[in-house]
């Protein structure tokens, strides 16, 4: 999973030959989910700041819902606990967005199947259905999505229609990097335990 996200980053940076070493890391077959340059951007079609903000918020919400759904599916107490923590963390992201940009949501609820980075939630749930999910896989999934989200917001910032949107996307790049750091620390905790 991580190597897939890494390969995509290298591809965007014009590396000429990228070879994924398959196996070793879990064989996630969602190949078609890793799209071209415009991948994930269809969620941000409108240049209107309110819509852009709502979409970003919905993606955080989407990831939170994914963690909670995986938690329901999972019967290992340790993994369940980790998923609950990660879901809680996404709650914090949402709260931060609301505090930083008060009034943009305007009391309207946001529901979307979009995930951070533009992934489809059902596709990921299908992948994990009827399988034992390990803590490592959960964190790898999170790292993959955050890496993709970081990349998506970088691309959106480059193509932003106005300064307000550009600033927001750059802010989100910073946020996603922090999320990635958080997951990295979680991973280290897991590896030390």
């Amino acid at each position: 999973m991580r190597s897939k996200a890494a390969a995509l980053l290298l591809l965007k940076a014009d590396f000429q030959h990228i070879i994924n070493v398959s196996g070793g890391i879990i064989a996630y077959e969602g190949g078609k989910a890793f799209g071209d340059e415009a991948f994930g951007m269809e969620y941000f079609v409108s240049g209107n700041f309110t819509d852009v903000f709502r979409m970003a918020y919905a993606m955080e919400e989407g990831l939170q819902q994914l963690y909670l759904l995986l938690e329901e599916m999972c019967d290992d107490e340790v993994v369940k606990h980790l998923l609950a923590r990660l879901a809680q963390f996404e709650e914090g992201h949402k709260a931060k967005l609301e505090t930083m940009f008060p009034g943009v949501l305007d009391g309207e609820s946001v529901r979307s199947d979009a995930l951070e980075g533009g992934f489809d939630r059902q596709q990921i749930l299908d992948h994990f259905q009827a399988r034992k999910v390990s803590s490592t896989e959960v964190i790898e999934l999170g790292m993959m999505l955050e890496t993709q989200a970081c990349d998506l917001y970088s691309r959106l910032a480059e193509k932003a229609e106005n300064d307000e949107n550009k600033e927001f996307f750059l802010f989100m790049v910073g946020e996603e990097k922090q999320h990635l750091n958080f997951l990295s620390r979680e991973f280290d905790r897991l590896l030390s335990s």
């Binding site: 980053l9 591809l11 030959h17 990228i18 070879i19 070493v21 398959s22 890391i25 990295s184 280290d188």
Partner: protein, 73 residues
Amino acid sequence: MNWRSLFSSESNMKPVEVKRFIAEHKPEEYQLLDVRQPKEYEKGHIPGAKLIPIKDLQDRLTELDPTKPVFVY
């Protein structure tokens, strides 16, 4: 070997094929990139692999040569 014709962008290779490639090529002809956590790297990695954890990759791309093949895992 003409890399351009083999890998226009991104491809997959099994570990056994990578091993064979490494055996048949000089180290300066390719790059091995390990994007896992330092602790995972310490436990074992492909000899010669460069460790750049995924969270740092975007900021450390300049440490890699974009013209040479990169094996990533």
